[in-house]
């Protein structure tokens, strides 16, 4: 990030395309809108399920190269499910401990 607020008056991530990795099987890629008591609100969201045929890394890298396939207009990810939020442009696989 360049350090400036992308959309003044909103959170630093507002309007950014992010990867939201969760504690469960689902990973979301979409535009960050806001966070409130319901969770993290994403718009125009693609979803990867660990139980699907493709690997999560492959899905995210493909989204980065070819764009996000928005399957859902609006998704709310409960905060307690969120493991990591990363800008899609900066996403790298998490280092295993």
């Amino acid at each position: 990030m360049s350090g400036h607020v992308f959309h003044p008056g909103h959170s630093a991530l507002h309007g950014m395309t992010v990867v939201v990795e969760t504690a469960g099987a689902l990973t979301y890629v979409g535009r960050y809108d806001r966070e409130d008591s319901a969770g993290v609100h994403l718009l125009d969201v693609g979803v990867h399920d660990l139980n699907s045929a493709s690997a999560k890394e492959e899905y995210i890298l493909r989204s980065s190269k070819f764009g996000v396939r928005g399957e859902h207009r609006h998704v709310v990810v409960p905060v307690d499910q969120v493991a990591r939020i990363t800008q899609l442009a900066n996403w790298e696989p998490a280092r295993s401990s």
């Binding site: 992308f6 959309h7 309007g15 996000v68």
Partner: protein, 142 residues
């Protein structure tokens, strides 16, 4: 619903004054991209204040580079709906995003800059990516 034309006029002008040819209908898109030869940059303009607000200056910087595409055309997302829908048919492998930029060589997309590659980055950084692609794909064919 398209944006108020008066609102987008300065955003259009910011791109057309760089020499980009505006395509506002599907027919104009087909005429420009249908049998495209050489190098062409397609700039998908948009209203988004922050991403597009970086993309337009990035384009301006990149077009000052020594090597540039032979043609630059532009469509306006959320405004010229038919033209944008048609132009996206030419980039069928890529998901729609705006603003975005596609560099074509002989009708093939050889480099694509998505909105997520513009968000939060400086115009200089985006321009550097573009000029790198210009150097790679827009030079003389030997």
């Amino acid at each position: 619903m398209p944006y108020n034309p008066a609102l987008v006029a300065p955003m259009r002008a910011e791109v057309t004054q760089l020499g980009a040819r505006e395509l506002t209908t599907a027919d104009e898109v087909d005429a420009a991209l249908g049998d495209q030869r050489g190098s062409m940059l397609v700039f998908v303009n948009s209203v988004c204040g922050c991403a597009a607000g970086n993309a337009r200056p990035a384009l301006a910087l990149a077009l000052k580079h020594a090597v540039v595409p032979q043609q630059v055309v532009t469509v306006f997302a959320g405004q010229d709906l038919d033209a944008v829908a048609r132009v996206r048919q030419y980039f069928a492998d890529y998901q729609p995003s705006s603003p975005s930029m596609a560099l074509l060589r002989d009708g093939e997309v050889v480099h694509f800059v998505h909105r997520h590659q513009i968000e939060g980055r400086s115009p200089q950084a985006v321009a550097a990516d573009l000029t790198s692609a210009f150097d790679k794909f827009c030079g003389a064919v030997v």
